[in-house]
Amino acid sequence: MNDLALHLLDIVQNSLSAGASLITITVDEDLIKNKLSMAVKDNGRGMTQEQVKKLSDPFFTSRTTRRVGLGVPLFRQTAEQSGGSLEVTSEPGKGTLLSVHFQYDHLDRPPLGDIPNAVVLMMSANPHVDFEYKYSYNGKSYEIDTFQLKEVLGDTPLSDLHVMGMIEEMIKTNQSDLKVCPIQ
């Protein structure tokens, strides 16, 4: 995995296969505290304590198509090699929260990558699932969710390719605006 956006795409697949109907993604870049955090929260079927413990074992997976499950172990390894950590809390029937922290300026921290693109790909490829996305940069934040988007779009599905491009552009513009320093 070259960047963190790819890890995010991967982790969200876990939420989708857990049957989630609402997935909340948060990305927080805090240069003041030198921290980068990401979290994926879902309302899927959740996991037992036993399963949570086994998550970091690459040879544990719930799927039957193959015998390895590398998504979470790879993400944990990436976090730990860049001075961070990965935590998972889950409760059967309620859902799962995966949060990951990185030391922002660590040499081994992969670049964040194209998060807006990843988010839009997820939204459009899974129109029956709702997504909430929150991006923060040094305390300032931008939020968007599929409830609002679906209301605006009306009959036009989120999977329409023209709409996808527009939403991606909207998220990118808002995110880059957060990074502009106000003139004092």
Partner: protein
């Protein structure tokens, strides 16, 4: 092109799009469209499935092909990732392996447009008589 920043601007832009009839009514009936599924589990993503998905989306958008692009999980062909499954209405799905941007374009040009089969098809739907 003016930049879209707020939901209101998105709404306006969408209406403009609808007027120019770029949005097809068919989008509501995915079964009548060509469905492309990109395998996006750990193996697929690590092998470059996102680049492929973006390339497919762009080409389909630019060339106005009646297709929807969605994601799927791992089909067990980790060695052959990125893989994509193309299902044309009324036909059996076909799974293509080792797809990169070039191959994705070839799949659209040859298989989707002309029904020509190309190298790298996985016998995923192999049936015995």
């Amino acid at each position: 092109m003016t930049k879209i920043k707020s939901l209101d601007e998105l709404r306006q832009k969408k209406q403009q799009l609808e007027q120019s009839l770029e949005i097809r009514e068919k989008s509501d009936h995915p079964e009548s469209m060509i469905q492309i599924k990109v395998a996006m589990a750990t193996c697929g993503i690590a092998a470059g499935a996102r680049t492929v998905m973006n390339a497919l989306v762009e080409k389909i958008r630019n060339e106005k092909i009646p297709a929807v692009v969605t994601q799927t999980g791992c089909m067990g062909y980790c060695y052959a990732e990125p893989t994509i499954e193309v299902k044309k209405p009324g036909q059996d799905p076909v799974v293509f392996s080792y797809v990169d941007v070039k191959k994705a374009e070839e799949i659209i040009d040859k298989y989707i447009r002309n029904n020509e089969l190309i190298d790298g098809i996985l016998p995923a739907n192999y049936q015995t008589i």
